[in-house]
Amino acid sequence: MTDTFDPRRNTDISSFLDQEAPAGENTRQLLESSFGAQVHYRNIENISRACQQQGVPVGQHPGFLDRLMGALDGLEQLAETEDFECLSAWHDGMHPIEDETALEQGAAQTCLQNIRSLAQAMQALPQMQAQADFADIVMAALPQDHRDENERRLGQALQALPQIQAPEGFAQQVTQAIAQQESLAETNAQRLTAALQALPQPEVPAGFAQQVMQRIEALTQDTHSQNQQRLDLALQALPQIQAPADFAARVMQQIDTLQQPISAEDTENISACLDGELSEHESRQTLKALQANPALSRQHRQHQQLSAALQALPRPEATPGFVAKVMLATEQAARPKLFALPWLMRSRAGQMVAGFGLFGLLVMLSQTLVTGTQGPTEVATGPQVQIIQVEHQPEDLLFTDMIDMDNVLEHVAEEDYNLWIGG
């Protein structure tokens, strides 16, 4: 019995498998009687399963399986065509055929149609990236009986798949593009270099290199110098302390003070100026000096402060009755002190004179007692005679009228007077 099943003309099995159409009586009979139909059925079933395993969305592309199976079935039929490879190569433009009219006849025509159909079917396949072992999986899903044959056919089919034809001159364009890219890269490198060179260069002060060399030489002179330099660098690297705003001014004031020492003459002038003892010209000069010299100005303020304090000191007053005491003292001082005269007793001659004086006094007193009251008589010359006269004045006269006493004392030699008063 010859199997007349032609899968290219039967789509019922596919629809049956897709459960898109109920299986008709003919399909059932065909599947029961025809080995080719059974193979076709299994092929569809296996390929469908393989697609599902690979996640190929077969259902989203209606007719995909049909076209695929049709292509496979066609290949199966064309397997007996001897000129298949030639036709495939001719189809791909790789094998010229002298008499192309033969292609329109018999099996060659069918084979060529199959090739075209396959090409169309393959082109219609959704472009997906299959796994590397997709073919193996598909082949493993096929019935083992026809595996080798199917594998061969699949290999041929894959080879027959339309190769991506690069446009004419593509390689040249690519080469030119690469060359252009290389050229651009070179150009970019040049531009980058130029841009870098065009960047603003930091200003190096004149003689910088020389200074650096000098510092290096200085650093290598000796350890002390090195340490000093390191210390300077370390100090410079320290966080700079923020000085108060008036720090510089205060420093300058201090410097001014140091630079302008105060002379003794300056001090005397500001002191005298404070007392109003300078002439107008001297006062002007002193005021100028005060304005120019902060230290002198400070000293002037101190003098003022001191002067005010001195003048504010309490003034002691004389004790009560002091005037009376003075008046009494003057009276007592005005009374000559005969026996207290130190000059009289200092020398032997003085003692003799005093002795004679005392003797004369006694003689005088005795005469007075004998002859009655009479005025004093000069018994000798010199100050002691005057004293004797004073001593004989009435007491009330002596202490009531000091002018008389002074008149008496006026006759006394000045040096003796000084001795008396102790001056």
Binding site: L310, R315, P316, A318, V323, V326, M327, A329, T330, G423
Partner: protein, 203 residues
Amino acid sequence: MASINVKEEQEALIIRCQSGDRQAFMELVQTYQNMVFAILYRMLKEREEIEDLAQEVWVKVYQSIRKLKSPAAFRSWLHRIALNAFRDRMRQKGNQIAFSLDDSYQMDNGDSIQVEMEAPGLLPEEELLQTEWQERLEAAILELPYSHRAVIVMREIQGMSYDEIAFAMDISLGTVKSRIARAREKLIVRLSEYMKEKEGSQA
């Protein structure tokens, strides 16, 4: 005009004293007794001796007033007598008289007296009473050398002019000027710390 009249009255009073008018002399003592007390108070450390020394001064004035040629210079002359009396008293007391640390008193016989005294201590309290400040100032005055003490007292306490001071101490005007300046400097140095405190407390 009033001051001229006062001056004339004072001169007339002195002339009367020179003529031996005891009543005038009494008025003179009454007028100038406080001045003598003031100069002696600042010069003499032993305050109990002030009255005695002042009395001695007035006795000398009484005895010597006729020698005063210019009554207008009486004030200076009075101070000269007071200072001489003070110096005589110092001579009598010898080394009992206190002098400053850096000064020596030249005796008539050429000996010098050097007496140590304690330097004035500084009071740490910020708020010192005025009396304490005055005591410190008075102590500093007493520690001055005699020559400086005399001129600064006559100038600042007695209010005398440089001419009067020169007459009273029988020195030149330049010396007066120099001594007053130096006396002030010494006082400022000795009171410097306290003056700073005082200035700071007033600021």
